[in-house]
Each structure stands twice: as C-alpha cells, then as structure tokens.
Symmetry: C2
Amino acid sequence: MTQSPSSPFLPIKCGRVEEINTQEENPTKPMSDRHGIDPELLQRMVYDALVWSSLHGLVVGDRNVQRSGKVPGVGMVHAPFALLPMSFPESHWGQACELAPIFNELVDRVSLDGEFLQNSLSRTKKVDAFTSRLLDIHSKMLENNKKEEIRLGLHRSDYMLDEETKLLLQIELNTVSCSFPGLSCLVSELHRSLLNQFKEQLGLNSGRIPENTNLSQFAEALAKAWKEYNNPRAVVMIVVQTEERNMYDQHWLSTVLKERYDVTTIRKTLAEIDEHGVLRPDGTLLVGDLAIGVIYFRAGYTPTDYPSESEWRARYLMEQSSAVKCPSISYHLAGTKKIQQELAKPNALERFLENKDDIAKLRKCFAGLWSLDDSSIVKDAIERPEFYVMKPQREGGGNNIYGDDMRKALLRLQEDGTEENAAYILMQRIFPTIAPTFLMRDGICHKDHAISELGIYSAYLRNKENVIMNEQCGYLMRTKVSSSNEGGVAAGFAVLDSVYLT
Amino acid sequence: MTQSPSSPFLPIKCGRVEEINTQEENPTKPMSDRHGIDPELLQRMVYDALVWSSLHGLVVGDRNVQRSGKVPGVGMVHAPFALLPMSFPESHWGQACELAPIFNELVDRVSLDGEFLQNSLSRTKKVDAFTSRLLDIHSKMLENNKKEEIRLGLHRSDYMLDEETKLLLQIELNTVSCSFPGLSCLVSELHRSLLNQFKEQLGLNSGRIPENTNLSQFAEALAKAWKEYNNPRAVVMIVVQTEERNMYDQHWLSTVLKERYDVTTIRKTLAEIDEHGVLRPDGTLLVGDLAIGVIYFRAGYTPTDYPSESEWRARYLMEQSSAVKCPSISYHLAGTKKIQQELAKPNALERFLENKDDIAKLRKCFAGLWSLDDSSIVKDAIERPEFYVMKPQREGGGNNIYGDDMRKALLRLQEDGTEENAAYILMQRIFPTIAPTFLMRDGICHKDHAISELGIYSAYLRNKENVIMNEQCGYLMRTKVSSSNEGGVAAGFAVLDSVYLT
C-alpha cells in the first residue's frame, strides 16, 4: 500500500515531497557570487526595482494600513519580490511544464470518481470538520445526480528541486484559489527589465527568463468558460475574502477580462452571496440582479472563510447552480492532501489514466507520502524526524509540523489511539538548493540565503466531451529565507520571484 | 503704463487673471446633472477608478506614511483625481493649445534680454531675498558673457475660463519645475477608460477627451536635449527635493527616457550636488563620476529648497556648467510674476515679438495685472477687494492674499511707505465656471462643486539658431472645491483632472 521510506538522498519514484531548509550555504550554486555584487550597482537595482513595481501595479495592501484590504488605491506597498530571478535548470523547467496538462487531466478524472473521493476521504471526514462539510455538499450533488457539463480548472502544481538527487519533486497540487496568477507575471517582467539594463554588470548573459503568460491565459480560460455558459448578460463572480490585501493580483485578472474580452467581473464574499444569491428553477444563479456565468473562487478554501452557516449555505447554493464553478466541489476535493497521498499509492494513477508515459511522468515527480496508518513509517518518523514533515489536511501554510514537535505529536497520536491521525499525512522532507539572494520587502533589501518553490499554472476547460483548453499557463516562483524552517515557502518571509533558466 | 481696472464681468484685453471661487452653484453648466448619477453606478465607477489608478501607477506617496517621500514602493496611495473629466469648450481648448509655442518663443526672447530682466526685477530684488539670489547668479552669468547654446524649456501655461466673459484667461506661466507631466497623462487615460465603459449610462457620447501626450513629449524633449549635448556617456540629472511624495510623476519621465531613448537619469538634491559636483575646465559638470548632460529641475523653485548656502552653491555651479539646464536662471526669471506683470503692460510684448497676430493672441488671454506702484488700482482694490488678488513674487500656492486680508495688507503698505510693495503684484480675480463634480482622495469620493484650471504643457529646444522643438505637449486639468477660497487651484483640495471637450 504505502512505500517504505527511502533516503531523501536517493531518487524517489513514488510519493511526494516536502520542502526543507538547511542552515548551510552551498557555495557552488550558479550565480552564488550574487552577494558579492557591487554595493552601488545593488543600490541602483533596488531603487529601479521599487520604482518599476510602483508604476506597473506590482502592489499589495500594506498590513499596517487599516483600509488596505478593503479599499483599492489606499495603503499600497510594493509586493515582496526577489531582486533577481532564481536560477533553475532548463531540463527540470521543461519537465514541470510538460506535467501541467497531465495533472489537469488527472484532476478531471479523479473529480468524476465520486466514490473514490468519498471513500478516500471517509476517515478524514470524521476528524476534519472542514473536509467533512465539503464532502456533505459533494454527497448531495452525487445524490441529485448533478453533472457538471462545463468544467473549469485553474490549477497550480508546486515543485521543489531536490539538491541531492537533482529530482523535480511535487509539493502539492492546488485546485482552488491559486494565488498570484497576475503578480507573478509582473515579477517576471520586472526581472526582465532589470536584466535588460544590468545583465552586463551582473554577468548574466547566458540564461533567459521564460515568458510568463498565466495572466493572459487565466483570463482566456475564464472568458472561454463564460462563453460556453452562453449568456451574454452573465458576469464572472470572484468569491473574495472580506479583507484581501492581495486584491491587486485579482484586479489584474478582472482588468484583462474586461479589456480583452469585455467580460464584467463582480466581487462578492460568501456572506454576500448567501444574502443576495438566489437560484432560478433553471439553475441560473442570480446575485442581486446579475446572472452569474462563472464563479472564480479566491476564497472558500480554508475553514476560516466559513465563520457561520451563512458561508456554507452560499457554497451549497453555488454548487447547485448551473454557473461554471472554478473549482467545483469535486475539483476542490481532488486537490486535497489526502487524495494526493492516495494517488501516490502503487497502481492508484492507473485507475484514472491510460497513457503509461503520462503515468510514468507523474510518478517521477512524486516522493514519499504516507498515511499515518503505516506504523513502520510513523516509527521511522519518530526516530528520524528530520526526514519527514507532518501535514494537516487543511490548507494554508504555517500548519505543517516538523522536527521534535512532529515527534511529540506522533507519539501522542500513538498513545491516544484516536481517529485523529486521519487528519494528517506524512511527507518526506526534501533538501532544496540554497542560493544567495536579495529579498525585497517594505522597501528594504534583505541579503540572505534562500530556497525556492516553482509553481506551474495550468488551465483546463471542458464542455461535455469537448476539451476546449488543457495547457500550461505560466509560473510562479516563490523564494524564502532558508533559515526560516517552518510552514513551507508560502508562509513566513516568502517573496515573489521568477525563473532564470540556465 | 498699467491699465485701469476693468470690471471682471467685461472682456479684458490686457493683463492677466486670478482664479476665484464663488459659493453659488450654477445649475446650467454642461453635465450639471452629474450629481444626480445613479448611486450604484457611481459606486462602481469609484471602485473601478481606484483599481485602475493602482494598477497603472497613478500614485503618490501617502503623507501619513513616513518613508513615502523618500523610498519608492512604500506608502503609496492613488493620486487625488476627479472621477470624471471636466467639460471644456473645444474653441477655448484650441486657443490655449495655439498659444503654447508663442509663449515658448516669448520666454526664450525675454530670457535673452538680460537688461530687461535685471531692470524689471530691480525693485523686487530689494525686498525678495529669493529673487535677489537668482538675480545675482544671473548677473554673474551676464558678466562672464556666458551664452547658453542649447536652451531647453519645459513649460506649463495655466488658464481659467471666465464664466461671465467666456474668455480664456492666463493665470500664470510656469517655466520651472512644472509638476504632473506624467500623472496628468494617466488621469486622461483613466477617464478614457471609464468613459469607454460607462458613457452610455452617463449620457456622455458627444464629447471627447483629447490625446494627452506630454509625458512622451517631455521625454522626447529631454532626450533630444541630451542628444544635442552630444556626450553618449552623460546622464540626465533630476534635481529633487529631499522628500518628494510626487516622485512617481518624475519616475514616469525617467522610465520613458530609459525605455524609449536609453537615456539614464539620476536624482540628486541641491545639497548632494554641492557635495559631489565638480566643474571641469571645459565646463562639464560631474556629479560623482557621472557627466551631466541635462539638468531637469523638479526642485529649486522655492526659497525653502535653499535652506543653506550649500544649495545656492549648487545652483551656481550648475548654471556655470555646459549642461543643458531646464530651466536656466534666465528662463526661471522670465517666468516670475513680476515679469508676467511687466509683459502685460502696453507695448511690452512688442519688444520681444514681431508677429502682430501672435501678440494679439497673447494679449487676448491677459487680464488685469498691476504693480502696487499704481495708486489708483491700489485704491480701487482697497474699496472693492472682491475683484482683486494680491500675489507675492515667490512661488507656490497658498501665498495669495484675498478679500479683507488683502485690504488690510494694502492699507498697511500705504502707511508704511516702504519698498515692500515691490514684493507683490495685484491681479484681477476671475470668476470661473463652477461645476458639480466628484473628487477622489484617500479612497473616498467627495461630491462637491468645483472650479478648474487648465494647464497647457509645452516644450522648446534650441541649439544656437536651430529651433529643434517648439510645440504644445499635452495638458493638466486641476480641479478643486469651489468653497475653498484661497491659494489657487494648486493649493487646498485640488485633484488631477482631464478635459472633456464639448
């Protein structure tokens, strides 16, 4: 069922991976002399980069300004970014891009297998109230025999490059509310602009920053889904949190949708949808007077987005409607960690995919990933906690458990003998490349050593049997200081970055 | 010498004008039903406009955030703007544009007449320390017989439309540090974007927003001046204040200069120029290691920019250099209020211009403008203060004196019998159109009645006898609430606006 633990220093063919930070520097990395850069040149690049981000909308709401998560145009600050793009090998880049349409197809296939989803998550359901609510809605949809004719997925698969094995290993596959489709493109543009100006002085002539077009492609996917819905008066609804400091990332998407496709977006919280949403007998979702053609979730992926029954009513209402949901409940569930772990089991992929090459490609990026049912793994993790990470089912960085905390948690779960272990999975920690870098935040340049996580965006659109889009869309590099040892790249001092292919 | 006072309600052919606010509304203005706009539509436009400004760099530093005037990318807030463009008659618009190259030529001619500048300002010199220092530098240049071969002017002539006479009347001609050449273009783009989306609902189909290209043209003028200087390794230096919350306006210009012409800009305060600047025997100005080809002043126009002798040394150093100065001391002096008043005297223009049509066109936009030597005018202003404004020689809004304050100041000057009256001029107040408008500031929409001032940018570049550029460049509309009765449109709650030609 589950694999035996392999050394993270050897190639791992099954299961998936978790990131790790080591405190050591690795002086042999490409561009490792970055910290030796001329201080005056550095200062100029820092200034130019800050100016560029301000003029080109690479901004977020400043957490120190009260209204910055509600009112656009006030309390803006440049988005945190890496001053220069992170080196990444061309071959692994190609591999990650190639995987995107295969993962899209996998998600779609898994989402169609309601029984698989319900069974795989049955134990999780008992201990994780959030997953349980999603499964309830999913069950009702199954009972009603409700088929989604138009299915839209805007995904992001996150990878790290293992330093020792030189393997590209998947961290997770996000099927809901993938952040930064807009700002990530801007960071690539910023880096391109800086390299245009300074590549001679930096000695960065040999590589390239790949085109980053996920903003266009996500907008295209939303527009095409809207077109398939086939109501010219319908709008795209972005489901938003009540406070959203990352609103500009979302506004970029709305702007491109409007300018390029003349599609209007509205922004609503789950509570507002509950208050103003109604379902017509034909399945049309009305919010206020507006028919909703496509629902794009940028909220609703985490328990804190559902403080009351109101939000759950809204989610159920939307799921019942004929609007294209990005994602539907089944796509959402297909992206959970438990399903990720189930799919890493031997012969699991074969249930959903026929093409052996595709299956082999997916497997190649999986690393150790286990249920807590596996007592030999749990034993090993207690003995050698440095090689594992314990991940709760629920989303959001900062929840992962490492090291001695993990050891204690595992021991407690063993003693208690409860069902609670179904709320977690175990993943192998990986040891990514550590590189000297400059991280920009609040106008200040931090010189530090950092690790990176590469996210590959992808879009999938299908209407009945007709696959309209299935493509890789662009990328997000996230970089964070390597000495911050918790919570993955998404948490802590992470900055937006891009890829410098070498 | 000076004209007798005319009623501001009658056409005035000579002299210039001052703005006024009346508290009354005028319900017959075009688009006067703006305040009756559907609240939901208004809310959507407000939101979209705030988003647009954030994504497109229509931003300034927030005065509530400490570093926002020094560090780009932090403490940003949308620039204050009018939600919709201000109606303006096509014919007056054409008139203002046509005047731009004539004023350019006038400034250039006046600047060449050192004796005229020195004589006209001789009494001002005694009572205005700032003008006195400028004149000292100017004198030294005259003594050294220093000729500026390359002369660059980036000007803005400000006008108001007098409501009663329907005359376009000049407020002032700015020859130094004209602000908003960048952001004004963005506001026009913002308004175009909003009208594209909402013109049907707003019933704004008949008019148009004219192209606003001053950013491109100012950059072109700076690049051409840089090219005339003919040192490929030289840079453009922007002279900046130590704190500059309007830095993004300037950064836009640097960005276009770099991207379109590959010309590098540096930013230096007067104190930094004093510290790091040296003059080579051939006249080349070096700041640090960099040769300066063009000096673009965005500071140095107001006494507070010269807190010590250091700043004056810097100004003198620059003036002595071969760098193209925008503006030179002589252009700077040609734009003073006293010179404006002198040029409004009968036969003054004829000293500088030959073309009778051009002279007539300029005169047509002049209104009442007098020296305080004119006792009959002073008497009238004391009796009817509502028809005048008293303007100090020094720059910067908020220094003008109105109403009873003016009356008292004039009486005091009469009694004292000092030279101090040379520090002021008297201008006729004008009564501009008042229009219902929406003013956006700090994310809040203020519904109010407002007056507007139209600024027409222009560029002039000459190398010896060869006039390389002499053209109108674009415009800045500034709008402020009409109940705020002091300091001109530049002071108080003024917002960036654009022109809706009807």
